[in-house]
Symmetry: C2
Subunit: 406 residues, 2 copies
């Protein structure tokens, strides 16, 4: 597997992208993106598990219900989520799909619609239509980066990646782009992401592979515990490489590439979490089940007290244990072991048998002062493990979110 420098959704063969600024974001920033495949694609999609879903999620669920093997692309906007907008919002999402299909020369049911941004404001369709036409005129195999930029909201950098996967009988490419920043929490799909490949994969297979890859990547990150109304991950496979993923060996190789793309995008989302200054990996080991390990890691990752301690470079590990204890998982506190990775040295052991070791406070403070922190909690009641990635909770997060609409 080889990463393609500057690669993204148009790195796989047969895809083009275009972007435009139509006024949904301030200061003429790019806010509308089209991704288009010259050939029909198999498609897989994961959607938010929130009971309150945005209009484009309702529409996309319908679309994939009727068409999962002849999809042509995606129309996406940032700056307005088209969520909690009732019947007028659903009408607007349909218009967006229809107008983009007209501009691209395909059928309506061949396009997914993605929206992200402020909730509860009707989408100004006159602006969106102008943006669709402008983006359609700029379609190109060089415009992956601008498309990735156009879907950002409070993100500070565009998130894209592409990898080459060699097979004995050829090569395929998987590319992807994502946006994150806030309302990020593991629950099936947890943000907007579009992943493309020129492999040929049957749509049923594609859905299963995406589910596995997302479970171990997008579903293992948390910024703030808030699941959005718009979370969507879309995977398109147009077969332009001529290479078909059919046997088990090819499926495994394809999955490893897909998993890598999803994990890299997921990590980029955490690194660009609202106000984040640290990238934190929480490994829970020795759990009775993988679900237990995940629950404990997740509770630690979403604890405001843990996350503010991390922001303050404070080795206040008591908060990590207290969070673990409220995860709804049974364990013996006298078995717990906690350690923190120590660059170029052995991990620093903070707790063994539920009791603090005689570690030096200065050593712990130095490790917690780093930008990348690896925490390992061993429950010592089984063999299962899980990792969750998160960031710290800073003044920056409060500033961004207390002030988002003003």
């Amino acid at each position: 597997m080889q990463t393609i420098n500057g690669g993204g959704v148009v790195s796989p063969r047969g895809y083009v992208a275009g972007a435009a600024a139509c006024g949904l974001k301030k200061e003429r920033q790019l806010d509308l993106a089209l991704i288009y495949s010259e050939r029909d694609c198999s498609a897989a999609a994961l959607f938010t598990q929130n009971q309150v879903v945005a209009a484009p999620v309702i529409l996309d669920r319908d679309t994939i219900g009727v068409n999962h093997s002849a999809i042509r692309g995606v129309v996406a906007n940032a700056g307005n989520a088209n969520a909690c907008t009732g019947a007028p919002g659903l009408w607007a999402a349909r218009q967006m799909q229809k107008n983009a299909a007209f501009a691209l020369g395909c059928r309506e049911d061949q396009l997914f619609v993605l929206s992200t941004g402020v909730i509860g404001v009707q989408l100004p369709m006159s602006m969106v239509n102008v943006g669709i036409d402008a983006a359609a005129k700029r379609l190109s195999a060089d415009h992956g980066a601008v498309a990735a930029e156009a879907i950002l909201t409070t993100d500070t950098f565009a998130k894209q990646i592409a990898v080459r996967l060699p097979f004995e009988d050829g090569e395929i490419i998987i590319g992807g782009m994502a946006k994150g920043a806030g309302m990020i929490h593991p629950n099936m799909a947890t943000m907007l992401a579009v992943i493309t490949t020129d492999a040929a994969v049957a749509s049923e297979d594609l859905q299963q592979l995406l589910k596995v890859a997302a479970e171990w990547s997008f579903n293992r990150i948390s910024i703030d515990g808030d699941t959005s109304t718009n979370d969507t991950v879309i995977l398109l496979a147009n077969g332009a490489s001529g290479l078909e993923i059919i046997d088990q060996q090819k499926r495994i190789t394809f999955l490893s590439g897909l998993q890598y793309v999803c994990e890299r995008l997921a990590h980029m989302i955490v690194r660009d979490g609202e106000g984040a200054t640290k990238f934190v990996s929480i490994h829970v080991k020795g759990a009775a089940s993988e679900a237990d390990a995940h629950a404990v890691a997740n509770t630690i990752a979403t604890s405001p007290l843990v996350k503010t301690a991390l922001a303050g470079n404070d080795p206040n590990w008591g908060r990590i244990l207290a969070a673990a204890g409220r995860a709804g998982v049974l364990f013996e506190q006298s078995n717990l072991a906690l350690s923190i990775a120590n660059p170029n040295r052995d991990p620093l052991q903070l707790i063994t048998n539920g009791t603090p070791t005689d570690y030096q406070e200065d050593d712990a403070a130095a490790i917690f002062g780093q930008k990348e922190i690896d925490i390992e909690l061993n429950l010592r009641c089984g063999e299962a493990q899980a990792t969750v990635w998160t960031c710290d909770l800073t003044h920056g997060y409060v500033a961004i979110n207390a002030d988002y609409r003003t």
Copy 2:
């Protein structure tokens, strides 16, 4: 029912309290409290549901297991939680109980031990012992306020209340004190609180009454979603009023008084939440069950995005609906109605049938700018309801918690 001005845990007959500064907190602040009843008390207690529990919680569970009808009082310290301290911590909690029993002239198993403060540091028993002796020398029926002050950590004011409850055949008093500030989230007992009464109540009744009262007060508040390792609510009934709570009528009246004391203490904890600038009531109505209503209210109350919007005076109600949607409760988003109380006027309706009304943005901004905010979400799929009280998430919270130990 009548509130006693400046009343607290020693307002009921037969109780005394004392406090001392033994050096666990900085700058010689009060950090050790004794509460003592001259007569044996029936006792009820609720403890944290966290799997990681502090040494005093382990000890108190043992104590009430062997003695729930001849309790004499409580010894409490702030500045050190005696949590995650292993076997040495449990020894220290036992020493604290033993030394306080000696100073007060009762048996060890007649005292509860409460600790709050930093986790993972061994309790310096030499200091604690000096504090116990000093506090025991100052026992008085006037020292309720200093005892309430001595259990505070990052709280900014002491929390106490007492009420008189008239009955046909006499009068009883219920008093209480609490500390809160951080790691506050509904899960049985959610902070430290000691409640006293001079009514005579059988201990089995007392436990049941406390459970009901706590369920609708302490268990309905949230500061940050973090459940502590030390949460404990203790209720003592010494019978000094000569009035016995036996028949159903008296039980109902007593419960109303107890409920009022618990709710007032719970509200004080929210008002004094770390960094809090607002008191927010979240009423969920029209739910299929009370558990559903509670789950939705609770998810809204713990959403970082909702709480930062509240901090920013931002009527960004989309975040309220998005939080409701991830509570794990089924509802139809097209049925939702959301309104905000409007002082001296009708509530401002923001959403009906899942769609924004034509409310004026200025009106909404003015209401969200207030210090007390009442949010009502109607799911319109049943008759059940629940209320949760919370505060906003501010720079102050981050500053306090990123910097707690330094």
